[in-house]
Amino acid sequence: MTSDKTPTERTAGALVRPFLSGPSDGAGGADGARGSRGADDRADAPVPDGALRPFLLTAGRVAGQDSIAIETQVVTTDSGRTAVDQLGFERRDIVSLCGNPLSVAEIAAQLSLHLGVVRVLVGDLSADGHLSVYLPNADASTDVDTLLRVIRGLRAIG
């Protein structure tokens, strides 16, 4: 692959590729990076930040929903249950998994996906109506009644 390149390209490639390949990439990093750029239809654009695998899952986006905290609860909707067979791969896994409420962190752990990827996919699926996303109550952690409930709950452990 490198033999037909001009010297400049070879130098750049030699410098850039190893840094771009994440630990998961291994030796396939160079080819993978090139393929990703082609699929992007923006061959001149710089290879974006991030490992390649998560990128493919999110169609190239890293800007997840910042509002989706790791403890955010996610539940599959009726629409999601109906559409589950038409969804692909990770999206289907998430919709299948969330029949009962789960946090974003649990989804990431159970499906072995990066948190950032789950945020992006959950945002998409929510926009499509397949998932309900319950944003956590921002004041819960400083609410006296909530804290008293947590204290009672912990004391009951024994």
């Binding site: 840094f19 930040d49 991030g50 490992a51 998560p54 890293v62 800007a63 997840g64 910042d66 509002s67 905290a69 790791i70 403890e71 955010t72 609860q73 539940v75 599959t76 909707t77 009726d78 629409s79 409420p101 946090s103 962190a105 649990e106 990431a108 752990a109 072995s112 996906l113 990066h114 948190l115 950032g116 990827v117 945020r119 992006v120 929510s126 926009a127 998932l131 309900s132 996303v133 319950y134 944003l135 956590p136 109550n137 921002a138 004041d139 819960a140 952690s141 400083t142 006296v144 909530t146 804290l147 409930r149 947590v150 204290i151 009672r152 709950g153 912990l154 004391r155 452990i157 024994g158």
Partner: protein, 202 residues
């Protein structure tokens, strides 16, 4: 997507999820964070990976560091169902302090933090203590009693850590469920005192 607190987005569902609250379990590498989470969590601790490019957006500017494209970190967590409408999540911070960029994700909106200390390696917990002090998050320093022994007495540890007298310093056994529960209750106590102080101010 962005809507009122606990609002439902996306359509009808069968079941309303519990309100999640979270508590951070921090400390240096190998002090017993995962053991602590595992002792009290009703699920065995789960591990997830977070990617720096998303987790650290706006915090660490990776574009300024050539070759520093992505960092993958592991994070352990567990949960405790308080009642049918309230669930407590315990998030262990990634141990190495170079992963500090991820802590905002864990700490913002948290009730408080338990900073676990190995009395033989006190300096491991400095980043955590610094971080929670700066954030103003209620925290408790808990010395893990490895094999029932603590290498220094508590006043010496408090002196070495230079934490405020108001910050509780306790010992606990990360392997013992009730000991972990009691340590968490001390954190809750601090959080409650802070919440009540804020309430009277209003």
């Amino acid at each position: 997507m962005v809507s009122a607190q606990s609002a439902e987005v996306g359509g009808p569902t069968r079941r309303r999820p519990p309100l999640p609250v979270k508590l951070v379990i921090a400390g240096g590498f190998g002090v017993g964070k995962t053991t602590t989470v595992g002792s009290i969590s009703e699920i065995s601790p789960l591990t997830t990976e977070a990617d720096m490019t998303s987790a650290a957006a706006g915090i660490d500017d990776a574009s300024q560091v050539p070759g520093k494209r992505t960092t993958t970190v592991a994070m352990d967590f567990g949960c405790i169902t308080i009642d049918e409408s309230l669930k407590l999540y315990l998030f262990g911070t990634p141990g190495q302090d170079r992963f500090g960029f991820m802590w905002d994700d864990l700490a913002i909106g948290a009730i408080g933090a338990l900073v676990i200390v190995d009395s033989r390696r006190l300096d491991d917990c400095y980043p955590a203590v610094d971080y929670f002090e700066r954030l103003g998050l209620p925290f408790v320093v808990a010395v893990n009693r490895f094999d029932g022994a603590v290498a220094h007495d508590l006043p010496s540890i408090r002196w070495a850590l230079a934490v405020d007298d108001a910050v509780p310093l306790i010992t606990f056994d990360a392997r013992d469920k009730l000991s972990v529960r009691d340590a968490l209750l001390v954190v809750l106590d601090r959080a409650l005192a802070k919440a009540r102080a804020a309430q009277t101010k209003r």
